[in-house]
């Protein structure tokens, strides 16, 4: 029992423990190899910079969080809708899929200038970039989830005379939830990447701007503080999903003990 309790403790706090281990390791590497500050600052330096400038950082972070979340929300809605279309119709599947893959192979940063020219500098291009970069995983996973739906379950609904829409709502989507939540984890990281990238190209606000500004004044510690804030926001969003996911896909995770 004692062993199991210790194990539970370990499982519960594993992420913190690992993070601390990694930070210590990073600090050690930086000191031992004397990695120059302007290349890769040690965590202590980053922390220092972060604390010293936390007000500025948090202002920029809020902006980035805002654009990211709006872009992400649009991406999820769009990804779900198109994913449903792709997953339910062979015609749409054939027509859209290659196109989408092609489009997504293109670095979105190439479109930012065009967006800036159309929508001005700042929030809108960041939102759109976050959207453009993050809808694809949602689309692919929703489409895959729907197209691998067991026909037996579909038949249950069909036998009641359910419409296509009913089938989608009552069987297709619930069955697709594990796929959907998996894609959210990928999509949120991409949304952050998208808005930060757009901010580096054209914005006066946001972590992307902060990082550019910091790196142009060679303040790498601040750059890394920005990166870490992004990472932390990503983790925060993940924890949020993890909570929701538990509710929606508990049935699918019934096998794997403590995971879900």
């Amino acid at each position: 029992m004692a062993i199991s309790k210790r194990k539970k403790f370990l499982v519960k706090h594993a992420s913190w423990l690992l993070m601390i281990v990694l930070l210590v390791f990073w600090e050690f590497i930086c000191r031992a190899l004397q990695v120059p500050q302007f290349l890769f600052p040690a965590p202590t330096a980053v922390l220092e910079a972060g604390i010293a400038r936390w007000e500025i950082i948090s202002m920029h972070a809020l902006q980035t969080l805002y654009t990211t979340l709006v872009g992400f929300a649009i991406a999820v809605a769009f990804g779900l809708l198109v994913g449903m279309a792709v997953g339910s119709s062979p015609l749409v599947y054939r027509a859209l899929y290659p196109m989408m893959v092609g489009f997504n192979s293109i670095p979105k940063v190439a479109f930012v200038p065009v967006l800036v020219v159309w929508f001005g500098i700042g929030t809108v291009p960041a939102i759109l970039t976050a959207f453009l970069i993050s809808f694809f995983p949602v689309l692919v996973n929703v489409a895959t989830g729907l197209s691998t739906l067991e026909p037996e379950l579909e038949d249950v609904l069909r036998s009641m005379g359910a419409s296509k829409l009913d089938i989608l709502r009552k069987v297709g989507l619930p069955r697709t939830m594990p796929y959907f939540f998996a894609s959210l984890k990928v999509a949120i990281t991409l949304a952050f990447v998208g808005s930060v990238i757009s901010e580096t190209v054209a914005s006066n606000l946001g972590i992307g701007y902060l990082m550019m500004a910091a790196s142009s004044s060679m303040d790498m510690a601040l750059v890394f503080a920005g990166l870490i804030v992004i990472g932390a926001m990503g983790v925060g969003m993940y924890e949020l999903f993890a909570l929701t996911e538990k509710r929606f896909t508990g049935w699918a995770n019934r096998g794997s003990g403590g995971v879900a």
Binding site: N204, Y209, S216, M218
Partner: protein, 316 residues
């Protein structure tokens, strides 16, 4: 043979001609050097590349070097050949916004990336022309789109490298008659431009190779000035993508604006005067808000320059 890997400030363009010419014509080899040249990612990035030892030498912004050494006093990177005798930055402003002189910039919106040399040196420009530092407001935009935004009238003006932004503005359909161009050097900014820099290790272990590099480069630079059109063919040879005509214009603009100046006519190519160097460093320190002032003599190593006679600006 000594191996030297060298990083440019930016992509392969017209102004890279002397480096490529020295390579292709074997001037480096004649000096006993085996040089490889890579394209760069910004003249500040080049400083980092050399500082970390990833590259032995590079073509980098002298002001970025000042900044780097101010932040990392232990790093003894040195500039060894001042290619651009003055900072190539300029303000481009639309006459339609009513801008003819620096004073007209007050209250206007300029655009450029935060790392742009012109933007960073703005306080110098402002001081030299009797403007408040915050007389203009800034939009941070990527280099790739600032000219587009200005051409569209979304920005009153931009800062940028003279010979880059000028060509970009033209390509976006702006008539240069409608644009006020204020080259920093012409408006009292004493800052230097891009220089060849050498890493700590290079200067310590093999200063002769650095000097040799400079000799070979100097030779190529002189020949480039004499015959830019031929020089451009080496650029084309290296990178088939470039538009020769355009790059020739770019090269000529660079040569005219920042390589052939009163200073270089007087002191020869590549050199600096200690006096101006100190002013320039002070100016950079105050402009960029640096915490310390590096020693001028440690930042630029005069000993590496080829002899004066070979550095004469050729008469055209």
């Amino acid at each position: 043979m000594t191996n030297i890997n060298f990083t440019l400030d930016w992509r392969i363009e017209g102004p890279s001609a002397p480096f490529l010419m020295a390579l292709e014509r074997g001037y480096f080899e004649e000096e006993g050097l085996r040089v490889s040249i890579d394209s760069g990612n910004g003249s500040a990035g080049a400083v980092t590349r050399v500082a970390t030892g990833a590259y032995d030498m590079g073509f980098a912004d002298f002001n970025a070097l000042v900044e780097h050494v101010a932040a990392n006093p232990d790093d003894s990177l040195q500039a060894v050949y001042m290619v651009y005798n003055s900072i190539p930055a300029a303000v481009f402003a639309a006459k339609s916004s009513g801008i003819e002189t620096p004073a007209d910039l007050v209250g206007k919106t300029l655009g450029s990336p935060v790392f742009d040399g012109g933007r960073k040196a703005w306080p110098s420009f402002a001081a030299a022309n009797g403007l408040e530092v915050d007389a203009v407001s800034w939009e941070s935009v990527d280099p790739a789109i600032r000219e587009t935004l200005m051409a569209q009238g979304r920005l009153d003006g931009i800062t940028g490298f003279y010979f880059t932004s000028l060509l970009n503005l033209e390509a976006r359909g702006m008539d240069m008659d409608d644009v006020t161009v204020m080259l920093y050097a012409d408006f009292g900014v004493p800052l230097y431009g891009n220089a060849i820099i050498a890493s700590n290790g290079m200067m310590r272990d093999n200063p002769d190779a650095v000097a040799a590099f400079n000799r070979a480069f100097n030779r190529a630079l002189v020949e480039t000035i004499e015959d830019p059109a031929t020089a451009i063919t080496y650029v084309k040879q290296r990178d088939g993508l470039i538009d020769e005509e355009l790059e020739l214009r770019r090269l000529n603009l660079a040569l005219e604006s920042v390589v052939i100046t009163d200073d270089t006519r007087r002191d020869g190519l590549g050199s600096v005067t200690m006096e101006r160097l100190e002013t320039a460093i002070d100016e950079a320190v105050s402009s960029f808000g640096l915490s310390m002032t590096p020693v001028a003599a440690e930042l630029f190593n005069m000993d590496m320059l080829p002899e004066r006679a070979s550095r004469e600006v050729p008469a055209l």
